[in-house]
C-alpha cells in the first residue's frame, strides 16, 4: 500500500487496542445502504515509476513552444535558488503558521514579504496573499464597499482596459453582495481609459474606481488624473498593477494627490512559473486606516515572554475562523508558498535588478512590435507608451494565424476577438527579458511566412 506504513501485525495490535474485530467495524455507524459498492471508474494504482512515465508522455505532448503570450501571466527568468529553497520540506510541507513558536520561518518570511510589497506599492500594509490577481480585484471591490463609509451605492467603476478575466471574476464574486460594477470605455486611438467617459458619474455616489496600470493592452494610463478624479468625488481608488512594472512606474501610493487606497495585483511575475495558470498569488495592500477592512492573513512583529522579537499572525478577528459570518472574507487557505517564492525572488532582484528586468521587458517589447509591425498586414493599434505588451491589428482573422504559428512552435499572443470585438482582428503580444533578439526574429520570420502563405480574409480599415 503506497504511503501507508501499517504491517499486518500493526493492524492486529491496533484493532485489539480499539476493541474492534476488523477495520470494517470502524465504519459501522455509516448506514449500510449508503456504502460504496465499487469505484470501477478509477483506474488501478500506478507505482511512482509508472506514473512518472505517464506524466513524461503527457508533458511531451505539450512541448515547449516559444512563448509571446502575456495577458496576465508573464514568462520571466526565475533564479534557480528560488525553487530550490521553496521546495524545502520545511516550507513546502508546513501548515498555516497558527502555532507561531513552531512556524517562525514561515512567519518571518511573510513579514518580510509584507515589507517588500509595501515598499514596491507605496502602500502601508499588505496581507499575506489572496488567490490571484483576479480575486484580488474582486476582494478589493468588496473591501472598498466596507472601507468607504461615505458611499452607500456599492458602485464600482471598472475600465474596459482592465483585464477582461478580472472583470468577469469581479462580477461573479461580488454579485451576491449586490455590488454594481460599471464599465468605463477607452479612447480608441490611445487604448487609454477616457477621463471624459467618467463625466456622467460626476454627481453620483461612486464607491470606488479601479485603475489597471499598465492596462490590459500594455498601455500606460494617466493614473494621476484618474486618481484625483475619484478622490475628488469621494470614491476610493483600487490600483491593480503589474509588480515588475513598479520598478519603473510611480507606485500607486503616490498616484495623484493622495495615492491609491487599495493596491492589488497578481504576484506571478515575481518568481512563479507560468505553470499552466497557477498556482500564482494575489497581493493586496492598503492604508493603515483600512487594515481592519482588509481580508486575508497578516503577520505582525511582537516579542515573546523574554522580550525577544518574534512573529505571529495578528488581527485575526477579521478572519472567518474567529468572525465566521461577519468576517471580511471567507478566505482561509491562501497562496502562501508562492508568496514565499515571491519574497525570495524580490530579495534576489532588489530594486535595481527589478528595474533592469522591467527595462528589458520594455525594450524587448518595443523591438518585437517594431519587427512585427514591419510586416505587410500588421500594424499597431495604439499610440500610447507601453510596458511589455502591445496590441497589433492584423489584416485577417487572428485564430488561424495563431494556429499556423503554433504549428511552427510559436505561441504568438492572445486573440482579442472575443473580449474586444470592436478592435477587429487584434492580437495582444508580449516579450519579457526571457525573449532574445533571436526569438523575436524567429517570430517575425514565422509570422511573415504565415501571412504570406494564406491570403488575407478581408481588409481592415
Amino acid at each position: 500500500m503506497p504511503f501507508i506504513p501499517h504491517t499486518e501485525a500493526d493492524v492486529t495490535e491496533m484493532l485489539a487496542a480499539i476493541g474492534a474485530s476488523d477495520i470494517e467495524a470502524l465504519f459501522e455507524e455509516i448506514p449500510v445502504e449508503l456504502r460504496v459498492r465499487s469505484l470501477a471508474g478509477i483506474p488501478a494504482g500506478l507505482n511512482e515509476q509508472q506514473v512518472m512515465q505517464l506524466m513524461y508522455a503527457r508533458a511531451r505532448m505539450d512541448g515547449r513552444p516559444l512563448n509571446f503570450i502575456g495577458a496576465g501571466a508573464y514568462e520571466h527568468h526565475i533564479p534557480a535558488a528560488v525553487w530550490a529553497i521553496v521546495s524545502r520540506g520545511e516550507f513546502y510541507s508546513a501548515y498555516t503558521p497558527y502555532q507561531a513558536e513552531a512556524s517562525q520561518g514561515t512567519l518571518q518570511t511573510i513579514y518580510e514579504y509584507q515589507s517588500m510589497i509595501t515598499a514596491l506599492t507605496g502602500a502601508e500594509v499588505a496581507n499575506a496573499s489572496v488567490y490571484d490577481g483576479a480575486t484580488a480585484v474582486a476582494e478589493a471591490c468588496l473591501m472598498a464597499v466596507r472601507a468607504n463609509r461615505k458611499s452607500t451605492a456599492g458602485r464600482v467603476l471598472l475600465p474596459r482596459t482592465l483585464n477582461p478575466h478580472y472583470r468577469a471574476v469581479a462580477q461573479a464574486s461580488t454579485g451576491g453582495q449586490g455590488l454594481k460594477l460599471e464599465e468605463i470605455p477607452y479612447v480608441r486611438e490611445r487604448g487609454q481609459t477616457e477621463l471624459e467617459a467618467l463625466a456622467p458619474y460626476a454627481g453620483q455616489d461612486v464607491t470606488a474606481l479601479v485603475i489597471q496600470q499598465p492596462n490590459f493592452f500594455g498601455v500606460l494610463e494617466d493614473v494621476d488624473a484618474l486618481t484625483d478624479w475619484a478622490h475628488a468625488r469621494g470614491a476610493l481608488v483600487i490600483a491593480t498593477v503589474n509588480p515588475t512594472s513598479l520598478a519603473l512606474l510611480k507606485p500607486p501610493g503616490l498616484w495623484g494627490q493622495r495615492g491609491a487606497d487599495i493596491v492589488v495585483g497578481d504576484g506571478q511575475p515575481l518568481g512563479c512559473p507560468l505553470s499552466s495558470g497557477g498556482p500564482y498569488f494575489g497581493f493586496m495592500a492598503t492604508r493603515m486606516e483600512f487594515v481592519r477592512q482588509m481580508p486575508g492573513r497578516i503577520v505582525g512583529r511582537t516579542v515573546d515572554l523574554d522580550g525577544r522579537p518574534g512573529f505571529t499572525l495578528t488581527l485575526q478577528a477579521r478572519e472567518q475562523h474567529i468572525r465566521r459570518g461577519k468576517a471580511t472574507s471567507n478566505i482561509c487557505t491562501n497562496q502562501g508558498l508562492l508568496m514565499i517564492a515571491g519574497t525570495i525572488y524580490l530579495a534576489m532582484m532588489g530594486a535595481e535588478g527589478l528595474e533592469r528586468v522591467a527595462s528589458a521587458c520594455m525594450a524587448r517589447t518595443s523591438e518585437l512590435v517594431a519587427a512585427l509591425a514591419r510586416l505587410p498586414g500588421v500594424r499597431t493599434a495604439f499610440s500610447g507608451t507601453r510596458f511589455h505588451e502591445a496590441v497589433l491589428l492584423i489584416d485577417r482573422p487572428v485564430a488561424p494565424v495563431l494556429e499556423a504559428l503554433a504549428a511552427r512552435g510559436i505561441e504568438g499572443g492572445f486573440d482579442l476577438a472575443e473580449c474586444y470585438p470592436e478592435l477587429g482582428p487584434a492580437l495582444l503580444v508580449c516579450a519579457t527579458e526571457a525573449r532574445s533578439a533571436a526569438d523575436i526574429a524567429t517570430y517575425a520570420a514565422a509570422l511573415g511566412e504565415v501571412l504570406q502563405s494564406a491570403p488575407a480574409a478581408r481588409k481592415q480599415a
Partner: protein, 495 residues
Amino acid sequence: MTLPMCEPLVYEFGRAGRGARGQWPAPESNPPAVPAALRRARRAPLPEVSELDVVRHYTRLSQLNFSIDTHFYPLGSCTMKYNPRACNAAALLPEFLGRHPLASARHSQGFLECMYELQEMLKEVTGMRGVALTPMAGAHGEFAGVAMIRAYHRARGDLARNEIIVPTAAHGTNPATATMCGCVAREVGVGPDGDVDLAALAAAVGPKTAGIMLTNPSTLGIFERRITEVARIVHAAGGLLYYDGANLNAILGKVRPGDMEFDVLHMNLHKTFSTPHGGGGPGAGAVGVGPRLLPFMPLPVVAKSGAGEAARYRWQGEQDLPQSIGRLTGFNGNAGVLLRAYVYMRMLGREGMSRVGEYATLNSNYLLARLQQAGFVAAYPQRRASHEFILTLKALAQQQGVTAMDVAKRLLDLGFHAPTTYFPLLVPECLLIEPTETESKETLDAFVAAMAQILREAATEPDTVRGAPHTMPVRRLDDVRAARELDLAYRPPAP
C-alpha cells in the same frame, strides 16, 4: 527537539550597492523612456543582498519551521499527511511549468487530458455528475457551491431563498461563505451525541431556506448517522444540500456524498489528495455537482470529444455553459496543485482510495483508544471516531489550571506539532486530533507517550506545561501587543 535560534531580517544583510547581480539582466544600452509623470522617482526600499545571503537566510529561516517532512502534525481538520515527492516532480516537468495558461490547443492536450481525467475520477469518488476544478481553495469552492445554489433558486424564480443553515460545529468558512454570497447563515445545534438536532433542523427550514452546509463526518470527528433524514428534511423544504468536503478523506471509498443526496460539494484536494499546504497554501477546492446544479458550474470546465487516438480536449466557456455562475479565477485555477492531486490519485488507484479512509480511521480510533487509556477524555466517548476525534481538557483546566493551549505548546517541546485547539468552538478546552493514514503505529505510540508525560507534568510541575514551549526559537509570543502596536512591515532607517 530544539530548533535553531532567531535569524535577522533579510534587510539586515543588505548594503547599498550590494546585489545578486548574476540574476539581473544586463542594463539596456538604450532603455525605453517612461513619461516623467508616470515614472518612479526613487527606488523601492528592497533588500540589497548577495545571492549567498539570500540562500543562507531563507534556508535558515526554513529550519525554524515544523513541517510534515520533519514532524508528526496531528492537526485535526487539516489532514497533514505525507506529500509524495513524485507529485511535485511531475508538476515541475518543464513542459507543464513553462506552459502558458492561454497556450493553443496544440500545446495543451497533455495537460488537459490530465485535467479531464481528474474531473472524471473526482466524479467517481464523490458520486456527483459534474466537476469543475478552478476554485483555488476549500473556501473558494464553498463560494462556488453556494453561488450555484443561489443561481439555481434564481433560475427557478425562487428569489426569497437566502438562508444557509450551518451546524454550530461548522468550520468558519461556511458562515463566511454564506455572507459572501449574500446569504444569511443560520445555525442549528447538534444533540449530545454530536448528530444534528433534527427537530431544530425541521424548525429551521422553510421557504427562505436556500440550503444547508454539512461536513460528514462532521468537524466533531463523527459520522452524521441520520444523513438521509437530514437530506429529506432539507429537500422537502425546497433547499439544497452542500457537502463541505474538507474531510472527504475520512470516507473515501466508503460512502459518497452523491449517494447521500448532496447536491453540491467542494473537495480540499490539498487535504484528501495530499497536495502540500505550503505554509498556508496553495490549495485547490474543486467542486462537484449533482444533476440540479450541472448548468451552473463555474467556468471553465474541461470537455473531451472523440475517443482513443482521436480524443481532443478543450476548456469550455460561456458558450457551452450559458447559465454558469461565471469565472472565479484569472485563468484555470491552481493548475500545478491540480496536477499534483491527479498524480496522487493515479498512484492510489481504485484500491488505494478506500485504504485512505480505512487507515486514517484505524489510526484515529487507535490513538483515541490509547489516549483514553492514558487518562484523556473524549468529547464523544459513545461514538466511533472517524479520521479525527476530539479530546476535551475541561477537567484539566479546572483542576490543574492547565489549558488545551498549554498542552499544545508543551507538545512542541516534545517534538510534535500541536493538534487543532479550540475548534470546533462548541467543545470547551478541546483538542481536535487527526493522525492521518500515513503515520506509523510507532509514531502514534510516541505521541501517546508525550501526551501521558504532559498529563504527569500537569500534576507534578504544572509550570513546565504552562510556560511551554521552552525549546523553540521563541517562547510564547505577545499576541495582544502584536494587535495593539501594529508592526506589519520593516521600515528601513532613513539614510
